[in-house]
Symmetry: D2
């Protein structure tokens, strides 16, 4: 932490700051520039100290220089985190490709989709049983019945599944069924929920909040890590901007940024990121080209009949076509597809 | 709902849309312009229908024309909602002025502050017992002990109090102590929490989410109203923008906008809105001048020792000075102060 | 400027940074914390140096600590700038109230409006002769003829006028007619235009760009000041955010922020700030309550016939009503109206 | 244009709207829904009509349904525009790869860079002679001398060059030297400049403004097209959002969005889009994978000595490495590199 004094600050004010630091059990190292005096603070600081110091007379600005997250930082762990879900690996050289309907609607809808995405080469199934919904009058998911259907689809296809948990009370139930728990964008700062999924022994995918900075996102990951769950990966799903043509603005630069700052795997979600099905394939390719560990897309047997997010869902054909386009792009950036031709022959 | 066809759409495509509407139990009224054909949809539509229709061939755009919120709309209830908390009224001609520390820290800190804000003319006490915190390493509140201290401050000063509830499990506990429950900005779309506070028999203050549109905010209020709790008021607390000088951008235009669209009372929070104590007084005056039903500010006996949000807290002196400045502005826009001189004599 | 080294940086890397500073004619003061080493840079730095230093091995971050604007800063000039335009003063204890049509359309439209706003108590007339227009197919103003009509309205009413200049070539022409030159939001970073109005001997009102930070806004003012024109005042007119209910988000907190950082007068424009006429009066009151030096609003004899911005224009009646509401709010915050009752009698 | 009446509107109000339309030479087609009445407006409407109608009593909302841009729309011209600059083609199956320093600084700096980017496979040289600069105290370019050096570099390497023009007066000068004129982000709504480059017989690259929607961007292109210059291509360079880790947020979804809405070629600029050199290669790959017609990056012989934007410039080595990474990604999405191995042998 650095305390920058005002040009017009007095020696008394300087002494006041130094005294405050001493009282707080810290040391201050003064550096007198031509224009300004700056005090480097040494010792165990805490975020609130910034506010405290900024209020002292003569202080112009207080600048934190240590990053506020620790367990999620590259400095803490230089090697990439690799997460295993059965045979599936998230964060290795193979892409994780998560596909399925936005919401679980019926047994037929889910099973058909699970078979189709498996056939096209996805390695994780998605499907919402508990759905967050902007309006109280919209479909809010099948709940436990949705989890059972997802388990049935897993049993049939062998695909592990990810599903969203909305509230701390449901964590135990969702953990019992799901292979991976999802914390959605609207809950990125639902700290009680973060605590709860931090106590779970299954991987957690943390979506970026609509208005969350990269730093805030890593701090939310820190909540989960701090509870002992180190199997965390991140999902960029678009941020809110002034642009209205797309539902959100998919911030692809967040992918290499996270990889620089953190050891956690990171994927992209072009379905929520764009909100328009015809933008999903080019953005999925962009996500892979930018170096992501995978992507998640919504697939539906009949998007124009979907109860939720039909406009951003791919048909089976479109998903299959996308997977064929992804393969060479993945190879170009040194990644392998979840299921490779050779392996297919072996099956 | 209006379906706008593409310039290049064919008669067949038009027929396809009309058929789809019939299948969905709706009727379509066609209007052929020189450039475009538009179909007005008649019947009980639902939000997902938009996505469905937009995917049909020949369709350019689908435009919803009914507002998606009902119970919170002015059309549903033309008269202003007025909320009573004991003697205190929110939404009437008297301002509701909520003041107190960001977080309850100690008995002394809270009681001193409660006495000071009462003496200066506030009519509701605030104080956080459960605190949302961006980092897991920051202070997260005293919990139940904080509620007990707030109840003690109420007993001593007579001020009703408002405090935040973070998670559905805590609703019952918080309801037992608090006069008003607060749903914070980060939880504006925590739908399980909204459901839960909708079942409570006490007023709820719903803060606007950092990236929430006015429409989304009203839809979140709709969740609470739809559960049967009609004692809801709103609090504008700043939205996230590109500007970094202030912590958020206080959207004062949201106040008259809400008053136009909804019957619910609305107040402003210049402490979180600006994040800098010296901006709080001018913005509090602006909030009142814009016609708000009141405001909420953070007051602390010793801001530079505050465990949370010291930089945006007013000292007792600053709060008292602000209250003296507010009085004539309130009078200018036809509002009375919570405690008026005459009344004080009467007490 | 402060250079923060990485935790993992080596002594060699540290030496490299110190050497680079020496080569650049600067001195470095090292401060070794427990976690990090920080180097305070002493001497005449320049913005590009930041980029240069950030690329050196071992460097984590470079933090500029001097504000990049000088002539516009409070530190450079502690007393408020006060601008005189004939009898009208901008930045003193009287409010500057600028009113008139968005665009000059006809002699009758302009003269009627000029008389009406004068009668209601405005002290500066506005009217666009050169109009920026998002689409090439919209009305772009009457040009020189508009300036002539404005001069005629001034001759008749005695009101000085402000009008926008769009391009460097027009500065001479506009200067010949206008009392105050306006640089609009879209041109806030049209640096050639800023240079040109910096050479003029008339006051300039600089509007904030739609996506400009407060710091960038002051840097644009700095361009004008640096050319020798010290008669600059600022106008907050709303920034672009995700909210679509209002045309822009009027950032009222920018008003006291500018007053803290700079000595330049600052006013607000609730017409462009909101884009809806019924939001203009409450926001104008909020601007005054927040301490602005005045405001600017659009007034039109017949808003539903306006060629431009009718939806945000006030009728004569609405403007007159607003002026009556402003008077007590202005008095509450220690400001006088441009024309006060006593004075009116004297005329 | 559609006029949506309020639920509570009366027959009289309805008649008033119909009468207003008739007066304006338009026809109205009424469609009475269960909840609302909607009037479809038939005839030649204009943007201001919206404001006019919205002010009439009983009107809830007016919705424009025709897109406001014409010449730039896909509906106007279904086939892709292809631009030729000598042998170089922008918008065809070969990528356009534009590289060079942010600013022209010296003959040696420019020539070295031109040779290096040519050797690595770029087909267009970039370099700023007139530089927009946030602060008046920063480097603003070499002006005409910069143009001469660019012409010299072209003569030596055969690479056509693009350079920015800042103000209408300079258009003639810049046109005389440059192969492609650039209109920068800050000037996207400098309408006089757009008019002027619209009269030129050379291609124009129009960068997206920092806060411009896709629609506004196309409307600015429309200005140039409307003056008769049909050789326009677009460059996405990042929009301003709340995120501060990156300089801007590169909106890659704008690339396929533009391709859907318009026939104009579109490229991406990951240097300005991210502001950090280590994010440039992954984002350049993402731009190509998303289907762009090319990209533009800043390359400098010695980024830590650059007078401008060193932090986002690639070294020669980094650029060459990037070009090798681009080749397979381009092939994956059906694009060819500007200079292909076979061709190189042929030269």
């Amino acid at each position: 932490m650095l305390v920058v004094m005002k040009k017009s600050s007095t020696e008394n004010e300087l002494a006041g700051v130094m005294q405050k630091l001493t009282q707080s059990g810290l040391a201050g190292h003064m550096s007198r520039g031509v224009e300004r005096t700056v005090i480097g603070v040494v010792g165990q600081t805490y975020p609130e100290l910034r506010d405290t110091l900024e209020l002292l007379p003569g202080v112009d600005e207080v600048i934190p220089i240590s990053k506020p997250y620790k367990l999620s930082s590259r400095e803490f762990q230089p090697e990439d985190t690799v997460i295993s879900v059965g045979d599936v690996v998230i964060g290795g050289d193979k892409l994780a490709i998560i596909a399925g309907p936005c919401a679980v609607e019926t047994e037929q809808q889910l099973l058909e989709t699970a078979r189709a995405v498996k056939a096209a080469g996805a390695n994780i199934l998605r499907g919402g049983a508990f759905k967050p919904s902007t309006s109280p009058y919209q479909f809010r998911g099948l709940g436990k019945r949705g989890l059972e259907l997802l388990a049935q689809a897993r049993a049939e296809t062998g695909l592990p599944f990810i599903t969203e948990v909305l509230t701390p009370q449901d964590v135990e139930l969702v953990e019992r069924y799901a292979d991976i728990l999802q914390v959605g964008a609207r809950n990125m700062q639902n700290f009680n929920l973060l605590d709860e999924v931090g106590k779970v022994r299954k991987p957690v995918m943390l979506k970026r909040g609509m208005a969350a900075t990269i730093q805030e996102w890593l701090l939310s990951a820190e909540y989960i890590l701090a509870q002992g769950n180190r199997q965390v990966f991140l999902c960029e799903r678009g941020i809110r901007t002034f642009e209205t043509y797309t539902r959100n603005t998919l911030d692809i630069s967040a992918i290499p940024s996270i990889q620089k700052l953190s050891h956690l795997p990171v994927i992209g979600d072009p379905s929520h990121g764009t909100g328009r099905w015809y933008l999903v394939p080019p953005l999925a390719l962009a996500v892979v080209a930018a170096g992501a560990d995978g992507f998640m897309v919504e697939v539906h047997p009949n998007p124009d009949m979907a109860l939720k997010d039909g406009a951003q869902s791919l048909t089976f054909d479109n998903f299959e076509r996308l997977m064929r386009q992804v393969a060479p792009v993945a190879a170009s950036v040194g990644r392998r597809m979840p299921v490779e031709p050779e392996e297919e022959h072996g099956e």
